[in-house]
Amino acid sequence: MATAVQTVERENYLNSNYGIKSWLLTTDHKRIAILYLISITAMFWLGGFFAMMIRLELLTPAGDLISSDTYNKLFTMHGIIMVFFFLIPSVPAVLGNFLVPLMVGAKDLAFPRVNLLSWYLYMAGAITALVAMVTGGVDTGWTFYTPFSTTYSNTHVIGAAIGIFIAGFSSILTGLNFIVTIHRMRAPGMTWRRLPLFCWANYAAAIIMVLGTPVIAITLLLVALERAFHIGVFNPQLGGDPLLFQHLFWFYSHPAVYIMILPGMGVISEIVTCFSRKRVFGYEFIALASIAIAVLGFLVWAHHMFVAGISVYAALVFSLLSYLVAIPSAVKVFNWTATMYKGSIRYNTPMLYAFGFIGLFTVGGLTGIFLATLGIDVQVHDTYFVVAHFHYVMVGGMVMAYMAGLHFWWPKITGRMYPEAWAKLSALLVFVGFNTTFFPQFILGYMGLPRRYHAYPPEFQVLNVLSTAGASILAVGYVLPMIYFVWSLRYGKEAGPNPWNAVGLEWMVPSPPPTHNFDETPVVTWEAYDYEHQPQEEVTVGH
């Protein structure tokens, strides 16, 4: 992003100073967001490359393209990279970092240096994990189940675990920064009830980051210690309990899917209101649903273990709680839909992605109900049904939301518009490609094809070919934005401060924003999404 070279005379965060040092030692939340954007984009392409290799192997029933060991390493690295190094930091560390201070009317996050430290920790963790992958790889699956990971795997488990361990601290520090910023640095008049729902969602995710991440850190540390020194926590031959690992792992990793999806939900709330020109339907319910998801999300972990050998009564309790956590998500979907009712709707790219999000997240959420249902989970657990469900929520939901947000705030971040026609085309490709890739996997799953299979019986081939075909469409849908976003940095139309005529403090400052965001502290006298009093046509609101 060497785009600081601009014709714009006005000083902004991009052109205020130059040179590699001014980026690597910056404490500006906006620049750190750009650092994250570049790093997680690289990780996304790496993880995407692994996914493509997996899909190519699965074109034929026989395991003929790559060896079993290579295949196992590919899906492991795909999972580790996408979950820990792309999805978890995606919306919070890029868009959240950029927008939370702007949205609450602050000059920066509460702890700017800690914010920079968290990027360095992320990079240290990512590089450690990458070194483990390059020097031999890991083959445990991103779930690191014991005793396979502690005793039977011959790959670089410790390196990968340490990489995730380090990156976890980055997540904790980002969460801490958001919590303190949202509590302490809101502008005068920015009450909790006027707070944009994007901030509410990131706040809820931050709670999980701070409370949940230490548990995965301890768990992976125990795996590393058990591997190195045979301390006997998880290995039954040493008196340990392999199921203990699953409890600890999912105690973090189930809430972690809410770290991934909640900020995405926040993005959708901003976009649906803006392109419907309406206040959000049921503000309090959407805000509280975020908190409810964060709290209930901690109480459902053992629904990953219904066939693992836990007691039937434990399964009963965790099944019940899993339905409860589904309800706040449903409430959000209904409220977004109701927000469109009697709106004045425009179909710009962010809104198209938001439509996609609501639809695909609905499918992802409803298939989650299948998995919460005990008798059904027995059949579909550890099959492609789970793979499809997870990708509907994480790719159909989260990546869609991330793309929606990136298009929505791209003019704010760079000062330039992306090309609308190309963007609409890519949104369509992503939607079609995604469904073609993952819908067949629901059918494969109920038929009984287990996940993580390098080779499979021939009757499963047709649906697998369909899935691979969809993946190539999806890949084109992701390559296009990469090209036109870079193109827009130089050739994009100048955006102006508020190209969407949206409500919100971030749209009241120039694009790109000046280093200190606000020349004078804003005073908020309106509620979030006050589209009633927003002039209909595009005007420049500024100080």
Binding site: S68, N72, Y152, V378, M447, Y453
Partner: protein, 328 residues
């Protein structure tokens, strides 16, 4: 074309219909809500597009609506919860009198051992219409016993027994998959469940060369390993008399009571100090690393047979010491 593209798994067990029935209900409800949301988005997006509806009508929200779309989905979920739990409970409780098969999973194969001592690798032969209970354990990583046509799945763990059961209703050959990722050849850890007519099953059973029943093999081990020196069939032994112990509550030294199930027997052999029976001293040495999974299963089968023999004995009012139970 459709022959090469099955979209639904075969139904070959007594439970399969129940699972599928609930699955269809879930699909119907999900399809309804998905279409509802899609339709609403589509209708709103067209009807209220900016060119025909330039001024949005501001609406704050609606408590009745919020309550409706919180409580109605919750109510529907409770139906799924009840039905799903009923199926799960049935799956978790093997019926009395089920035929027992022991399974050992290891990287990357399945070993089955029948009550008469016959063994199978990657193939499980069962008679149609009969309840079959599997008692499983792993020699290394966690595996999972999955037969899609029966709609059952259960993880197979190292260090303990897990069980599952099914009643096959259709003669045929069905996929057996390991569904818990277990390393290099995970996708090769597959096998077949062969459901046979009872007569064919009997013929197959008697065809194999077996070296005594599982329980009698266990009895031999019981002597060889020296278990019998302490676990005597009277009250003089330094260890508890194992006659009639299986399946009964056992009072422990620390005051707790546990049921003597397969996992308790297993633990008592491998980690004898974990649960000391009331009135006895923790003097038994561990057999960890000295008994293979197969031998453990034989020992468990023997201890089990001591209980069955006693029951039979009590019924016929014959209190003689059981010596060769289940012998052929």
């Amino acid at each position: 074309m459709w022959k090469n593209l099955p979209l639904f798994p075969e139904r070959a067990s007594a439970l399969a219909w129940q699972v599928d029935g609930l699955y269809f209900l879930l699909i119907a409800v999900s399809a309804f809500f998905t279409l509802l949301i899609f339709a609403l988005i589509f209708v709103f997006a067209v009807k209220y597009r900016r060119s025909v509806h330039p001024h949005a009508v501001q609406i704050e929200g609606s408590l009745p609506l919020e309550l409706a779309w919180t409580l109605i989905p919750l109510g529907i979920c409770m139906i799924f919860f009840a039905w799903g739990s009923l199926i799960y409970f049935q799956e978790a409780r093997p019926p009395k009198g089920a035929m027992e098969v022991y399974a050992v999973a290891k990287q990357w194969m399945w070993k089955f051992e029948y009550e008469n001592g016959q063994r199978d690798i990657n193939q499980l032969h069962v008679p149609v219409g009969r309840d079959v209970k599997l008692i499983m354990s792993s020699q290394d990583a966690i595996h999972s016993f999955f037969v899609p046509a029966f709609r059952i799945k259960m993880d197979v763990l190292p260090g303990r027994f897990t069980t599952t059961w099914f009643r096959p209703t259709k003669v045929g050959t069905y996929h057996l998959f390991c569904s818990q990722y277990c390393g290099t050849d995970h996708s090769g850890m597959i096998g077949q469940v062969i459901v046979m007519e009872p007569a064919a099953y009997q013929a197959w059973m008697s065809g194999g060369a077996s070296s005594g029943t599982l329980a009698s093999n266990g009895q031999q081990l019981f002597q060889q390993l020296g278990c019998a020196t302490c676990h005597r069939f009277d009250t003089q032994g330094r260890g508890p008399n194992l006659t009639g112990v299986f399946g009964k509550p056992v009072l422990l030294e620390d005051g707790r009571t546990v049921i003597a199930d397969e996992n308790y027997i297993r633990e008592s052999i491998l980690i004898p100090g974990a649960k000391i029976v009331s009135g006895f001293k923790p003097i038994m040495p561990t057999f960890q690393g000295q008994v293979s999974e197969e031998n453990l299963m034989a020992l468990v089968a023997y201890v089990k047979s001591l209980a069955q023999a006693q029951q039979k004995g009590a019924a016929s009012d014959n209190s003689s010491v059981p010596d060769t139970p289940n012998s052929q």
